[in-house]
Symmetry: C2
Subunit: 231 residues, 2 copies
């Protein structure tokens, strides 16, 4: 009997890859406009290297970028980048098409809904609140809160516990095979892979029970599973 759905956030409920890429590119352009003396392509190469080395939640990407290029701490240029990044974020952040309708349809079926996501708690909540979809979720579970992230099975077990759900009662929806679908499958959840974002070509190895192109396909899957367990 399906009682709940656990969602990944980034690239599952909204277009994280595209949005972050645009925000970073616009931030770099604004820093060049503000006097950072480098070509756009070179600056993006350096920035991408910094992000690769330090991780996406490192707080000083632009500080390091400006330091690498100009050799000094330049708060005018750094702050210009931060403001542009933030403005683009606020402007572009919105759920994938049909997300809100799908969440309504799932709640109408009496399901518990949760988000389980790697990332900083306040940053992940900010996305949900700015998109206006946070009231759909009974729990929002972050790796920062738990102290360990995906693909650790302990993190998914903790998520199920927070939701008061057993794996066999739970559908898991995510975009990454390695960090979302495989661990959820290993724990015994029904796995739905959404083909979105930069990992949509990743080899599946039969870890996903279903693959969907749009979140709205989830409703039909849920109805099938709920009818099956009724019979």
């Amino acid at each position: 009997m399906i009682r709940g759905v656990l969602f990944d956030l980034d690239d599952t409920l909204y277009n994280s890859s595209e949005f972050v890429e645009i925000a970073r590119r616009e931030a770099v352009k604004s820093m060049i406009d503000a006097g950072l003396d480098i070509s756009f392509e070179e600056a993006m190469n350096i920035l991408n290297k910094i992000i690769q080395d330090k991780g996406s939640n490192y707080g000083k990407h632009f500080d390091d970028l400006v330091k690498a290029i100009s050799g000094r701490y330049d708060p005018k240029i750094i702050t210009t980048g931060i403001i542009t990044y933030h403005n683009v974020k606020v402007a572009l952040l919105r759920p994938y098409p049909h997300t809100i309708k799908t969440l309504i349809d799932l709640k109408a079926r009496g399901l518990k809904l949760g988000v389980i996501t790697d990332g900083l708690t306040i940053k992940q909540w900010e996305k949900l609140i700015r998109m206006g979809i946070h009231p759909f979720f009974d729990e929002v579970i972050t790796s920062e809160e738990f102290g360990l992230g995906k693909p650790h099975l302990e993190f998914f077990k903790y998520g199920l516990k927070r939701m008061n759900l057993k794996p066999e009662e739970t559908i898991y929806v995510g975009d990454r095979v390695d960090k979302d679908i495989k661990p959820a499958k290993d724990l015994g959840m029904t796995t739905v892979r959404i083909l979105k974002g930069k990992y949509k070509e990743m080899e599946d190895n039969n870890y996903s029970d279903y693959t969907i192109n749009s979140i709205q396909e989830l409703v039909k899957i849920v109805d099938e599973l709920m009818n099956k367990t009724k019979i």
Copy 2:
């Protein structure tokens, strides 16, 4: 011979007291709307106590407020407060009337202009950049950069050095007698006190050479001083 003007930022170039107060009140209202179970007045009392104890640049005012009221870390409510605070900030931040015209008039007289301010470098730059007035300033000098803030004379000396100005060549414009006007006067700058913000009733003790109600009065004072030294 007057060659430059050093400005304080908060409550001198824009209405910091009012803006921060409105942003905090709206943030608290939004947290109550999001489920924080307390009256508005009680919440503001607790918040003001936290700000008094921890200082205005402490990064966790809302975390502590929510913890004090609900006894737990509640990221939904905290993030709601942060987003509202930020949205209000972006919406309300603008220079006092006549500020841009006055800065243009001062630049037209060949003067160097600088900002010297207590606070976090990126936060103070963010205000200047969002208001669009940062290009007027040859230097923006923050207490975070120097490691010591107002009213320490060393900080003002460092500011003068960054501007390559001598005290007797410099007009200082600020709102606080204790932290702006007195140290500037003690160093030998010409002091202009602007009667704005929550410290406008503060006892002057003759530390200010001039007092003004609006920044535009500065142009006349500069013209007088420049003519005087020419004769």
